[in-house]
Amino acid sequence: MGWAIALHGGAGDIPLSLPPERRRPREEALRRCLQIGVEALKSKMAPLDVVELVVRELENCPHFNAGRGSVLTNKGTIEMEASIMDGNTKKCGAVSGLTTVVNAISLARLVMEKTPHIYLAFDGAEEFAKEQGVETIDSSHFITAENIERLKQAQEANRVQVDYTQPIQKIDSKKETPIANGDSQLGTVGCVAVDSQGNLASATSTGGLVNKMVGRIGDTPVIGAGTYANELCAVSATGKGESIIRGTVARDVAALMEFKGLSLEEAARCVVEERTPKGTVGLVAVSAKGEISVSHNTTGMFRACASEDGYSEIAIWSFGLN
């Protein structure tokens, strides 16, 4: 036993040829966020607070698709969503359709703790945010030049794009271009943590899908799809929202552990390799025993993890597997 933490910055068709100037800022951010999470766990902060803290950091980082740096809807607007879950109590909170709230994950937490509801969305969520006095800012704050360009490209390609790590490139590029077949997926940030007492928590946040229809909700705020935590494990998923919803991905990892007696790793692999289509899903998970699993059926997933026994990793791809 012992504490463990894993966080992600999105799974997708991240090409091995990703140039350093696109890779390094993300790796740096993952390193920094991991450090923050590890320090927090070491100082005995509750996992629920740890995951919120780490996801706030990831949201504030413009290199990931959440908070600042969120991808844009087909109207060029921002609509952010998030959810958080406490493994012990199974209490949870979720928000969707946020346009001015600086940290969606914190609003999700407030929904969980300050309302009789679990999930608030759009105008109602924004109204609640004002009542609660959370930090809000003009929507333009979240928009980056890179995402404006991504939207333009997606609209030209007339396709809903999930992979936003693709460098800004011409549509007719002959390089390996996951955009070309529209199957590339990436999005979302998330964090799962467990302390040495086995308390678990999970949090996930996103800007959604590039060029998504206004009002589109993905897996991230859907408890059991993008986020889940109970007494056995905590899971945060990323990838193609529609696949994660149908596959009730986060819940299934826990269900396989509970009902089939699989280990965390076996359960995560089963879900990712057998129960969801290739190229659609990635997840990070920790168990009550302090184990970590990082699984993805996509080319890559930005992630970082560490455990009390000294293990630590920051990575994008997985070699020697599948």
Binding site: K90, K91, C92, A94, S96, G97, K114, T115, P116, H117, I118, Y119, L120, A121, F122, D123, G124, A125, E127, F128, V160, L209, K212, M213, V214, G215, R216, I217, G218, V222, I223, G224, A225, Y228, G241, E242, I245, R246, G247, T248, R251, D252, A255, L256, F259, K260
Partner: protein, 326 residues
């Protein structure tokens, strides 16, 4: 076994003092909807179409809390949500924050069939509805005088309390004048609007489908989303079964109730009724909820841990029953 099966519900958590004529009305509506589904199944309509057809009927009738007759938000408006799932390939569609669409379940179906997404909400959902040319009406259409009255009572009872154990006041003004200590979702049972309608079907080919629709919680905050549009919580259909839940949304979401029934069947090998019983008994903690389910082998089952659930079921061998109480 084998053959088709269908179940419908009109919400869980029923006032024990519900007047007899209201009980009769409910049973008649459930019977009518079942018969609609049965005819459709006998003419070989696929499960997903039967589910949509039957839920449309439940939405259109103002008796239950969905479509017309939906519970009202704290602002006195209606915000509806629904989801539908086709077990064959686990395709799904959901909508929330729908204010003018006459049949939310059909909009959810269109999201599944005609959009690249699974879930659309609020203005985006309404815009999609217009693009698709579905029937729309003013929000007032969905509001019934009865629910306007219920909203007033709910506000007086200072309902939707954070601590659901706080005793309520004002419930002596409703029901048959008998005070009921039962509570559901923070409201005294006598003014609680049993949430949601749903339908689950397995057709002659063994394909399962499920659908759920609701106006949500009386006096809810605007923008509040419950379990009904959440795949895995209020609705689920896979290879082995179809499930639709109703009751306390929080409990259903935390328990990922609909998915749970399927998961224990798939991963633990439980049969349908065992799975339903297990989930109701073990997965609800202090929450109150009910559900209906069908299996691919033509079985039908339901369960609830609260006071009553409006439901009905029928199977191909001629069995048909509607009920409210245990």
């Amino acid at each position: 076994m084998g053959g088709w099966a269908i179940a419908v519900h009109g919400g869980a958590g029923v006032d024990p003092n519900l007047p007899a004529h209201r009980q009769e009305q409910a049973k008649q509506l459930l019977t009518r909807c079942l018969q609609l589904g049965v005819s459709a199944l006998n003419s070989n309509l696929p499960a997903i179409d039967v589910v949509e057809l039957v839920v449309r009927e439940l939405e259109t009738d103002p008796l239950f809390n969905s479509g017309r007759g939906s519970a009202l938000t704290e602002k006195g408006t209606v915000e509806m949500e629904a989801s539908i799932m086709d077990g064959t390939k686990r395709r799904c569609g959901a909508v929330s924050g729908v204010t003018t669409v006459k049949n939310p379940i059909s909009l959810a179906r269109l999201v599944m069939d005609k959009s690249p997404h699974s879930y659309l909400a609020f203005s985006g959902a309404e815009e999609f509805a217009r693009q698709q040319g579905v029937e729309t009406v003013d929000n007032e259409y969905f509001i019934t005088p009865e629910n306007v009255g219920m909203l007033k009572l709910a506000k007086e009872a200072n309902a939707i309390l954070f601590d659901y154990r706080i005793p309520s006041a004002g419930n002596e003004t409703c029901g048959a004048g008998v005070e009921s200590p039962l509570q559901m979702n923070g409201l005294p049972i006598s003014i609680y609007a049993p949430e949601t309608v749903g339908c689950v079907v397995v057709d002659g080919q063994g394909c399962c489908a499920a659908g759920t629709s609701t106006g949500g919680l009386m006096n809810k905050m605007t923008g509040r989303i419950g379990d009904s549009p959440l795949i895995g919580a209020g609705t689920y259909a896979g290879e082995v079964c179809g499930v639709s839940c109703t009751g306390e949304g929080e409990a259903i979401i935390r328990g990922t109730l609909a998915r749970e029934v399927a998961a224990v069947m798939e991963y633990r090998g439980l049969k349908l009724q065992e799975a339903v019983d297990f989930v109701i008994k073990e997965r609800l903690d202090e929450g109150m909820a009910g559900l209906i389910a069908v299996s691919k082998s033509g079985e039908v089952a339901y369960g609830f841990n609260c006071n009553g659930m409006f439901r009905g079921c029928a199977t191909q061998d001629g069995f048909m029953e509607v009920g409210i109480w245990e």
